[in-house]
Subunit: 387 residues, 2 copies
Amino acid sequence: MRSVSVIGVGETRMGRFPDRSLRDLILEGGDKAIRDAGIGKKEIQALFMSNYNAQFFCGQGHVAPLACEVLGLGNIPALRVEGACASGGLAFRQAWIAVASGLYDVVLVGGVEKMTHQSTETVTEGLAGASDVELEAGLGATFPSLFAMIANRYFHEYGNVRDEMALCAVQNHENALLNPDAQLQKRITVEQVKQGFPVADPLTVFDCSLISDGSAFVVLAATEVAQAISGRRLVEVIGSGHAGDTLTLASKRSLTTFDATVHAAGQAYAMARLKPADIDFAEVHDCFTITQIINIEDLGFFAKGKGGLGVSQGRTAAKGSMPINLSGGLKAKGHPIGATGLSQIHEVVTQLRGEAGDRQTGNADIGLTHNIGGTAATCVVNIFRGR
Amino acid sequence: MRSVSVIGVGETRMGRFPDRSLRDLILEGGDKAIRDAGIGKKEIQALFMSNYNAQFFCGQGHVAPLACEVLGLGNIPALRVEGACASGGLAFRQAWIAVASGLYDVVLVGGVEKMTHQSTETVTEGLAGASDVELEAGLGATFPSLFAMIANRYFHEYGNVRDEMALCAVQNHENALLNPDAQLQKRITVEQVKQGFPVADPLTVFDCSLISDGSAFVVLAATEVAQAISGRRLVEVIGSGHAGDTLTLASKRSLTTFDATVHAAGQAYAMARLKPADIDFAEVHDCFTITQIINIEDLGFFAKGKGGLGVSQGRTAAKGSMPINLSGGLKAKGHPIGATGLSQIHEVVTQLRGEAGDRQTGNADIGLTHNIGGTAATCVVNIFRGR
């Protein structure tokens, strides 16, 4: 399999956009990425679309040819990939495989979701479909309740990290202040998080990621042709991993170590021939604050049970030794489900190019993205290096 | 890219199964394919799932890890691929790319849909999401109405083929009589089709494919390792193509030639170094009878405008020179959306192995599958050869 690089990225601002349609979001993000790559549309040979549930939220299935038509890409092959909140990472990985295999030289990967026109109850129902509907959602479990159980189990096994969870939200909000694409640009405090509207104990509304509209796109090319067609600084995909776990929480080996993350990260590190300490910064899947703590442990950045300490020591903050979610993360940048995994890649590529403006991190040679779906029933990890 | 072969196939009977759940359908089809391949579950390295819309029909998204859990496949990577009624063909193609690339040696591809517990109105609404919801479905267009427009345009351009359309249904029903997995095993006549309950002129209910529950699975392996792990006669993937077209009918270059089919078939023929006349038999996407006539022309089996003649001359019948839909097709075998593309491959592999029993075709060296989504906004064509 041959080397593959990102040559273009583009995304919309994340937020509540009652007057913007699905096709409008696709058009903005897709056009930005193609223009960023500096290529013509005729050079794009395939489209990989990520979307969680436009059929439920907007009545629209078959999103890939819709995107193709909106972007004027002609008769190229297009398909949609879905793995709940990990859909973006999955679509990216399928595109990477297709280019690495030699089948295509240049492809576009996009993700989109439009949710905010629905009530929170309807959105919660749509999202709950990413859990086991017979054994979880159908019995009343929502994602906040499932992750609240995970948090309580974590407290039982490793001690209470309520303050550290709150601090994850505080740090992500802090980062989002400097990201013009972020949905929320508002400083918050640990006390505000803890005193927030209770959702599922111990989670308050400030522990939960946002409901968002938005799109994010990435142009991928075989590294051997990328330099000839694009003047941009290449960002190479040096590691990729994908693993799964049971859909149901009750069947998992552990509630506090996500095996899908451990396996996917292991694959990505092995392919990149790197260890966790070699990673300079990462975008990790902070659907809930407890998830961020578990993730930074499962990714090997901190020992098991010590993720909260890393957060409270400021090591995960923007100026820390392992900056996490410089974009603001799902918590403050936003979480338009199908776009999320690609927006993570947008951030890492922007940082590795040194184009992140006020939020540019100092040490940016190698970045990692971590994207999970459901209660980590799907996980995709990618590692990128600026060239 | 290396050679890839099918080493196992399995499917449920297609039909109305009010007492069978999504997981039950997955379990039967998946287990059959794995047992057919004669391999252990531990040899399966990834799962590619096809499903159109379990979230809408059953409230269940994130179907890939559900299938993984049901089938006991552990932490392997799993993802869902969607392209409306072409989802099965797309998932198969993604699996083929991943194995051909060298990333995996053995993978499972599965498709499932459970629809019949919903009313016909609800199913029609769910399916309409595969058209453009803003410009088509939202204005009242359903798929029968879209394909009725296609039929009327075909009549305008090439002459009336009402009887030939009816004969497609008659031939597919005839074939299904010999397929134990078929939903309908009932002989019909041209007059019955034409006098059937009107759906959208000229289409009657007998011109429309079925609403079905069911699953179909395929095990794929790199040809170089397939012989070592499976005692089954290999069926090699010798050609594959994937192309798209606009989602909206109004934007298409032609209503009577599906460009997505022409492009996808062209890719598959070029890869296989074959021409249409080299194909011995084919499963083509007969969502409506007019679609079957257009498809057999676009695939190059008959000249444009002459597909109906081929049907009326009996050339597409089981004993004809180009047998079409020996399984009974979507019309009589059934059309569980996500499973359809894989059930087509199930039939072609079964024929190429010489295991089709009473419906075995005499000349079965090379078979083709053709799977479309929407009004041919997505098309996947695969060509297989028995070894």
